[in-house]
Symmetry: C2
Subunit: 181 residues, 2 copies
Amino acid sequence: MADLNYTTPPNRPATAENPAGRPDDPIWDLIELLFFAYRDFVSDPDDALAKFAFGRAHHRVLHFVNRNPGMKVADLLVILKITKQSLGRVLKQLVDQGYIVQKEGANDRRQRLLYATPKGEALAMKLAGLQTARISRALSELGPAAHEQARRFLIAMIDTDGRDGVLQSIARADQARKPKP
Amino acid sequence: MADLNYTTPPNRPATAENPAGRPDDPIWDLIELLFFAYRDFVSDPDDALAKFAFGRAHHRVLHFVNRNPGMKVADLLVILKITKQSLGRVLKQLVDQGYIVQKEGANDRRQRLLYATPKGEALAMKLAGLQTARISRALSELGPAAHEQARRFLIAMIDTDGRDGVLQSIARADQARKPKP
DNA sequence: AATTTATGTCAATATGGCTGACCTAAATTA
DNA sequence: TAATTTAGGTCAGCCATATTGACATAAATT
């Protein structure tokens, strides 16, 4: 912990494109920081899951089902951008071991709506807690505006055509959650 | 594109811990936005790599070798946090197909120092360009401080004990690059 | 009645990880 | 110098997660 002359961005500020028409220099710092930040971000749940013989795939499924109770299988496939065969294996394990239940749709009886069981919710919340601890620690090192700044940056990084769906999904899930009275 | 009441964070501001000692509510928005942002961030190179019959693993190796010419195999293993057997397979393909060369260390002749060939550098720069395009687009939607804000947030998300190494690695690689005269 | 949709399943394949064992050559140390 | 450690490579097998393609069933829609 000594030499720290690396606190200012080494690249010139990013523009859409240089005046010369030549492509911008790569934004090395953010490219690499995204890699390292995400690597560590997922490592916390990964380690915890290892004790359950579950993996990252199970985490993702359990997370979104817990956040969106009653979601359809098809919705999950769109969010995760995987095939139903890939989902099938993981989902089956979660169902067999009592973390997720499937209920017939009331309107459309072909649907298998997905719900986290209490056991599943507990695990999902535990994993979310690990990730929240890391985010909280990070935000606490920064100013009070950091949450909103991070939020805006991450939103802007999402495909423009997928953005609305993501934001609506987050907003919907938030609303559906019982606010503590 | 209509209803947008989701532009403000739905969670209360994150604190290290609540006064009550009860764990914080999960920071759902950043947890999910990190997932979606990273998913799309890696999708650009993934798509491009598919044409070469290369995958994400090749990208990571080529990226770091290109950024750190002459790096040791052992360094790469530490950065990627994988085993040498895992590295071996992808590295061999990159070497066989002429994207990376290995040179005997001058001081220590056991070392196989890694360098991107011109062909390898071209591919690495192409992939970095794709990622830079996404980042540039994102930053251009935000204020001029956004780059620095994103940088700080991502740094804070990294494991505290790994942080210095990451930052030094980035700084070192930047310095080693020839500044255009 | 015919078709489409939601979901599930079987089979084969690819990728990218892992562990464990073992090897060579070169550097370091006793 | 002899013994040990280090840097790197390799073989073999296993596991998790993803893919494509084909096919099956039941319920909704036309």
